[in-house]
């Protein structure tokens, strides 16, 4: 196996991890601040992708697609928070999971009613549709480099927001002690609304960004939601740092599993066994990782609350 291939696979692991982080960030932010596990986050991601695809088809501009997707999904998030989420915030986790699961059911049918059951087309912006020469032997898709860039930017941005800005400090205050924050004049409900809308916009950004490289169809949210949940559980729910580490771990383990496991097994076992056991193990690898992490750290690697 050449060093170029290994380098490329590492880059792939990073890219997949950052892809997952974009979606995980919004979810864990909402959980950390509002203490609600919003499984409909996948539906917001789906909404972002659909709106972006539709905008792209009408305007042919990728930038417009991303912006419109973020704005529209942010608006949907706003309505959702006012109508439903604030009622679920005071309930137990099971009620939250079920209430937001109901949203998934409704959203899938609504999307099907508007756009039909066939997958939507979203073409890649021509400027980014080809590969870029990183190393003499290594051609890497330009679009994936964009994903890496946006992912890192989002991570940095969120970190700065939460630790350096006044709004971020208020958000953390509201999370750690709601009553005290209210007594000190912080409008906690407004804060929570803002955080939820931010989470929705992050999901939409992820959806718009991944639209050109994934299938845009009903149920796309749930497919990726499982992976994202694994990321934030490993990292520690509620912690942005945890989501980042968890997503990168999942990205690397999953990519390495698919890239190297079959070859590794071939060293010890017959090709027939390697090709039948390898992919299965690779598919299970991230769940095994999560189980192992939870055995030693039952609250994840960087739990936000003790």
């Amino acid at each position: 196996m050449s060093t170029t291939l290994i380098a490329e696979q590492l880059l792939n692991g990073l890219q997949f991890g950052l892809m997952l982080f974009l979606i995980a960030a919004g979810l864990t932010l909402v959980f950390g601040i509002l203490d609600i596990l919003n499984v409909a986050h996948g539906s917001l991601y789906m909404a972002g992708a659909y709106v972006a695809a539709q905008t792209m088809q009408v305007t042919d501009s990728f930038l417009a697609a991303v912006i419109v997707a973020a704005v529209v999904t942010g608006a949907v998030g706003l309505v959702l928070e006012l109508v439903l989420i604030r009622r679920l915030v005071v309930r137990d986790h099971l009620a939250q999971v079920l209430g937001t699961f109901a949203i998934i059911l409704i959203a899938n049918d609504v999307v099907k009613m508007i756009w039909g059951p066939a997958p939507m087309m979203m073409s890649m912006p021509p400027a980014l549709s080809g590969p870029v020469q990183l190393l003499p032997e290594l051609l890497y898709p330009a679009y994936r480099l964009l994903i890496i860039a946006v992912g890192l930017a989002a991570a940095l941005g969120l970190y700065l927001f939460v630790t350096r800005t006044r709004a971020g400090v208020l958000v953390r205050a509201g999370a750690s002690n709601r009553q005290m924050a209210t007594l000190m004049g912080v409008r906690v409900p407004l804060l929570f609304l803002g955080v939820f809308v931010l989470g929705a916009m992050l999901a939409a950004l992820a959806g718009a960004l991944l639209g050109p490289v994934t299938a845009i169809q009903t149920g796309m949210g749930e497919q990726i939601l499982i992976l994202v949940l694994v990321c934030i559980v490993i990292g520690g729910i509620g912690s942005i740092r945890g989501a980042f580490v968890g997503a990168l771990l999942v990205g690397f383990v999953d990519t390495a599993g698919r890239a190297f496991l079959p070859a590794l097994l071939k060293l010890f076992f017959s090709p027939a066994v390697a090709s039948s056991v390898g992919p299965t193990l690779a598919a299970l690898s991230i769940y095994i990782l999560m189980a192992v992490v939870l055995v030693f750290r039952p609250s994840g690697l960087f739990p936000a609350r003790g």
């Binding site: 196996m1 050449s2 170029t4 291939l5 490329e8 696979q9 792939n12 890219q15 997949f16 892809m19 899938n108 099907k112 039909g116 059951p117 066939a118 997958p119 939507m120 087309m121 073409s123 890649m124 549709s129 080809g130 590969p131 051609l139 890497y140 898709p141 330009a142 679009y143 994936r144 050109p212 490289v213 994934t214 299938a215 845009i216 169809q217 009903t218 149920g219 796309m220 497919q223 990726i224 992976l227 990519t255 698919r258 890239a259 079959p262 090709s275 390898g278 992919p279 299965t280 690779a282 598919a283």
Partner: protein, 388 residues
Amino acid sequence: MRLMRQLLVMAALLPGLAFAQAPIKVGIANDLSGPFAALGAEARDGFNLAIKQLGGKLGGKPAEFLQTDMGGNPDQARQLVNRYIQRDKIDFFTGPIGSNVALAVGPVLFAAKIPYLSNNPGPSQFAGAQCNDYWFGVSYQNDAFHEAAGKVAADRGYKKMVIMAPDYPAGKDALNGFKRGFKNAVGQEIYTKLGQIDYAAELAQLRDAKPDAVYIFLPGGMGINFIKQFVSAGLNQSIKLVGPGFSADEDVIRAVGEPMLGMFNTAQWAHDLDNQQNKKFVEAFRKEYKNRTPSVYAAQAYDVIMAIDAAVKATDGKVSDRAAVLVALKKADFASVRGPFKYGANNFPIQPYYVRVIEKAPDGQITNKLVGKVFESYQDVYVGECKK
């Protein structure tokens, strides 16, 4: 006196009333939610076009078409079929897109002596060891598309191949089928995860292996994901893409678009296949569904209804005589959009397979173009195992 006359009239009419026919019932289990929703919608459109053209009748006799969604779930499909058999008392069955559902509901239908005409799945089990008189694989046998693709790859002179499929029995069957058609040794076999979204790792392996072509069996969203990412990685410049018809039909083209140009794929039908029935079908489909070109799923569904219609006509509507219905169905005396149609011993078709390439048509639309014939009359390899 008047009463007597009225009674006489009624008595004269009575025999006619007694023989007034119950409508012929066709139970259709649609796949409208779940993993095959897009394909199921295509099939449903094919069904509805045929039903509309026949005026809701079969063989000229009144008919009822029951359509219900079972979401691609074998357990729910089983329950639906039970309802169709026990409550609605259907005479024919069709609808599912996935092989797993066909395998789940087949035995029940066969035991109840209800002909099941398949508008898509062609599991090898029903072609071989579990073949049954009540099964009609109108569409194709699952391995066929892959064997044809293998031959295409060999014919086009691809020496080094990488082949990919998801890690489940249908995937393994597909790649085995391809290898049978290809005949030479394949460079690398890659198995991916069912429902996998990101193929960067596999694409890196592909780039490292530098094959002449890559063959993919990645149904549904998986194929869309892969093709988009394959082109984005620039691999389509140096590696040719070959796939079975289901990964490259009109529905996938509508979702992916330009990146698919140049992809070779194999199928037993193409929308530009040159026969009367097909031309009429494509034109009618475009007219009915806002200028949309039909996919192979719509064509297969359409054929199923027409096949039932022909069989009912041949038995003059006496569908309760199952033996006669089976004979009529086997004879397949209907005008298929694929041209002349005939069954092999195991009720799977012996038919030609074509190779198509995705091109930009003169009117700017991206679509499949028929470029050649791969097999003249292909019969599946499982027919020998069928001992009826």
